[in-house]
Subunit: 334 residues, 2 copies
């Protein structure tokens, strides 16, 4: 194939998953789908960065346990996050003694790690692979924006970085678990958006690009899917995305949603345009969506991880914010 | 396989490579092997960060051209660097419209991207893949340590971040190019080193771990290799590495070298313990080593990328510096 959809013939199964979140996420509508929530988002640590690493560690621990496996059964792990040099993933995974590949895809990282873990199992280079992603509101806020103590106000288009981690364990096809059957890596798209408080707008065009490429390469149509789930465009970005693909003749008005819209109750929680951060799609998918796939309430879905590729320096140097969106297709059918 | 060496049965070929460096590297002993050197390390840009991105862009451009290919022929690209959120790779690759997977492995990133590109070609998910890594002394120095204007003095154990990029293009086996035939992903190892001015010491144990694992899993012995090339431990770290593996019964005194030792002339250039940064092993491999493989002066080598997994925050919070080392085996034999 050449730039086609990567099709996993051996249909790697997601044999276990876990999601761990912070306080605010536990107060949202998906609370009962999370395996563990930290009441103060600190995970018994004395800094926010250590708290995020601990969340990564615990999330992987729970996912491995729920899959009835031990550390030594995992052949390869893929993980990434938003902290500089992906330190939360490194420090979270460092004592597990599992071969480790660090990924960076901003908020698209969970879909990317799921795709890469599936590829490594499908190609036969390993039996069991782990894919994880995380973010923490407090470590992200002070790294990207302002000290938390400053209490900065944010515009309605801004999203709230989710304190959360999600981890999935992939194995050879079992027949009884949801399977990852396709993967379409994203292409970096720069549409010249420069507003660091409107990530949804920066990411929506790349999300549209990946979805348009997918349907142009696939035999399937939007109606073949129970859910086309983006993560995390938020309210603002998801509307832009739906409008962009409608212009391209793809109608997902009735079967698309966004992890950033699902994770909080915007009537009660002050989160502006919804959730964001690698941990948003990771925790929503590994908790809520996996539950629906296991119960076959969802049978055929697309997960499109969307990332905004900036750092504090690129914004200060007046660079635009490119986006990237990686797509994975998951089925609950045997 | 389970945690075994990943063996590439289809022997993906490195059909082209390029290396681009800065001024100081062009004044070193490997000058004639670099495709392009910027006389002021600025690459005609007005910030060091933009200079690094431009270096990434030009390096990929040259590698694609030397492989007689066009952008649209590349099915998948893997890249990473040391800047926060891997921005140099993103901005360097963003206008090429090539599917893109961001990697983070600190200074081990080039070996990692070579391994992942080889895996994607070997498994048949793409025909042509690109692997790249970069670093820039000036963007790294002011991000990790002090403003350049401060003129900070550094201890003898410190390494000099290389301004350089290396890019390799992988395709199906051709029979006439060097091939990547094995890949052993690293395991994060934390030996409690906390001195951010002695990365060699932080990385050497993880490098020894990967090499010891390799020889315990392989039928081959150290004598089967013309060169076991680490990158980048520098003088300090390479000595520690040789001593650690000697303790484990592996003698590489006569056939091991380090990219951080090769790239500068330490008699004439003030670089303390040698070179470091993703761009060091990337530019040394894609220039000097590829030339020797093509001429069959080297026939069977191991490249072990070594990374120190820290950020400025982990150092300030008194965390230790874990290391990771990814190994690839390259052969010039058909």
């Amino acid at each position: 194939m050449s730039r086609n959809i990567i099709k996993f013939k051996n249909k790697p199964s997601i044999i276990g998953s876990a999601s761990v979140t912070g306080k605010m996420e536990s107060e949202g509508p998906l609370n009962r789908f999370f395996d563990l929530c930290s009441g103060d988002s600190k995970f018994n640590m004395d800094t926010w960065e250590k708290a995020e690493a601990e969340m990564v560690r615990e999330c992987a621990e729970i996912a491995i346990k729920k899959s009835n496996l031990k550390h030594e059964d995992i052949d390869l792990s893929f993980a990434g996050d938003l902290t500089n040099q992906c330190a939360a993933s490194t420090f979270g995974m460092k004592d597990k003694k599992i071969p480790y590949i660090g990924l960076y895809g901003a908020c698209s990282t969970f879909a990317l790690s799921l795709g890469m873990a599936a590829l490594s199992v499908d190609s036969g280079v390993c039996n069991i692979a782990l894919g994880e992603a995380s973010s923490h509101f407090c470590s992200a806020e002070r790294q990207y924006r302002f000290p938390l103590e400053y209490g900065c106000q944010r515009p309605p288009s801004a999203q709230n970085t989710v304190t959360g981690a999600g981890c999935a364990i992939l194995s050879k096809h079992t027949g009884s678990h949801p399977s990852v059957i396709e993967f379409l890596p994203g292409i970096v798209k720069d549409f010249g958006v420069t507003d660091a408080n409107n990530m949804g707008a920066a990411m929506a065009p790349s999300c549209a690009d990946t979805v348009i490429r997918y349907f142009s390469l696939s035999d399937l149509s939007p109606d073949d899917f129970d859910l086309v789930l983006t993560g995390d465009l938020g309210y603002e970005g998801h509307n832009i995305f739906l409008s962009l693909i409608k212009d391209a003749g793809i109608d997902l008005e009735n079967n698309s949603d966004d992890c950033g819209k699902l994770i909080y109750d915007t009537n009660k929680q002050e989160v502006n345009s919804g959730g964001s951060g690698c941990g948003c799609s990771a925790s929503v998918f590994c908790g809520y969506i996996m539950e629906k796939l296991k119960k076959k309430e969802l049978k055929n879905i697309l997960l499109i991880g969307t990332g905004a590729l900036l750092n504090t320096g690129t914004v200060l140097q007046n660079e635009s914010i490119p986006g990237i969106s990686h797509l994975v297709r998951i089925t609950a059918e045997d």
